[in-house]
């Protein structure tokens, strides 16, 4: 069973709907015992970074502990940004610090927010993108992005006037700036891949 962490931010239900649509068991919960016994965790999020951090509250420490001991985690959008050290959206806020880097605003030489479908180059060695072509369109809606400095992280980039890190993978930690649950069939395939990753991780 996958647990989609319900922490009082928008659009958590869509992620659950998408997993159910592809036949994966996923439950929306903020109960520590559900989170502890989950095969994998999904941290979704449509929220401002600071709001998301305070809404997550004490769950943050639990998630960190479980993920550092090997439980797969997928962060989506703000949930992806939460994986990093800190963000400057509406003041400075600390993130989970699981992947090194700071979340900063997209330069205003571009239209901000970065909104819509952009082409992401998918490295062959990133498990989330198994079975997909080497580049695919995904749906983005964000004004901030992580400047990834973690040398252990694999990164998939999209071009938005600069190389924007659209997805990272570091051991059992996964994240996408884009919304797989809003990226049609391609996005559903990414979620399916994450479900497979969780399944494999619980077998060994």
């Amino acid at each position: 069973m996958l647990i989609v962490i319900d922490y009082n931010v928008g659009n958590v239900k869509s992620v659950c709907n998408a997993f159910r649509h592809i036949g994966c068991e996923a439950k929306l919960s903020c109960e520590p015992q559900d989170i502890e016994s989950a095969a994998g965790l999904v941290l979704p999020g449509v929220a401002a970074f600071g709001f998301a951090v305070s809404a997550l509250g004490p769950l943050a420490e639990l998630i960190k502990k479980l993920v550092l001991s090997g439980k797969p985690l997928l962060g989506i959008c703000v949930g992806y940004q939460l994986l990093f050290d800190q963000s400057s959206e509406f003041g400075c806020h600390a993130g989970l610090g699981l992947v090194s880097g700071n979340v900063v605003s997209i330069p205003t030489t571009q239209i901000v927010p970065h909104m819509g479908w952009n082409l992401v180059k998918l490295p062959e060695d990133m498990d989330l993108f198994a079975g997909l072509a080497r580049e695919k369109h995904f749906y983005f809606a964000h004004s901030f992005y992580p400047d990834v400095t973690d040398t252990q992280a694999k990164i998939a980039y999209t071009d938005y006037g600069f190389d924007l890190p659209a997805s990272v993978q570091k051991a059992n930690i996964y994240g996408t700036q884009f919304h797989p649950e809003k990226s049609g069939k391609t996005g559903l395939k990414v979620l399916k891949n994450f479900a497979q990753i969780c399944k494999r991780s619980n077998q060994c």
Partner: protein, 254 residues
Amino acid sequence: MLTKRIIPCLDVKDGRVVKGVHFLNLRDAGDPVELGTRYSDEGADELVFLDITATIRSRKTIVELVEKVAENVFISFTVGGGIQTVEQMDELLRSGAEKVSVNTAAVENPNLLTEAAKRFGNQCIVLAIDARRSKERKGHWQVTVKAGSEPTALDVVEWAVKAEKLGAGEILLTSMDADGTKTGYDNELNKAVTDAVNIPVIASGGAGKLEHLYDAIVEGGADAVLMASITHFENYTIKQMKQYLASRGIPVNL
């Protein structure tokens, strides 16, 4: 490269999709969930659902509609119509909408944009502007509210600039003069707004031919084009629209 978006708009009244001309003379266009699913399967980049009755009773219906759409459609969709508070936005976003749009409430209480952006991030706050060409001031447009029934003293370009500062993350710009006429978008309006702001602008009102979409993007500078009549009643599929735009060098997600 970021692609230009094709966005079918579904105006919802009493649980059905309807479409009029200049916001009047509504015609039935089908079931919102069925139509939304069809457009998503055809390759629409996003959907917009507007509750055009926007009464207390219709609010419950629209939340249920959002839940149903979110179970069947795996692309982003915006919901608008009569939204007045951050709590109402929260309910719609939690039910599965990716973005919410506000018009009248933001004019009456501009701080709503700031409050909403601080809580949800500006990427999910769409400011809808219904623009009417000013008879008194040439090259200016007047903001109208309450589904186009009430003119205000606000100038469209000035309001768009102010709203961006307050926290709007996108503008859904409807020309009331062009709405439902199928004679093309008001690209003078689109250009005036896209030149003035640095957030995405969705051009709306007037699409009737494929070249109108191209013109809104190239002449109007629009990041996305919204249409209703042309998809509900005409023979253009989303795919045809995208193939046409691609053939003229516009980046699209085909």
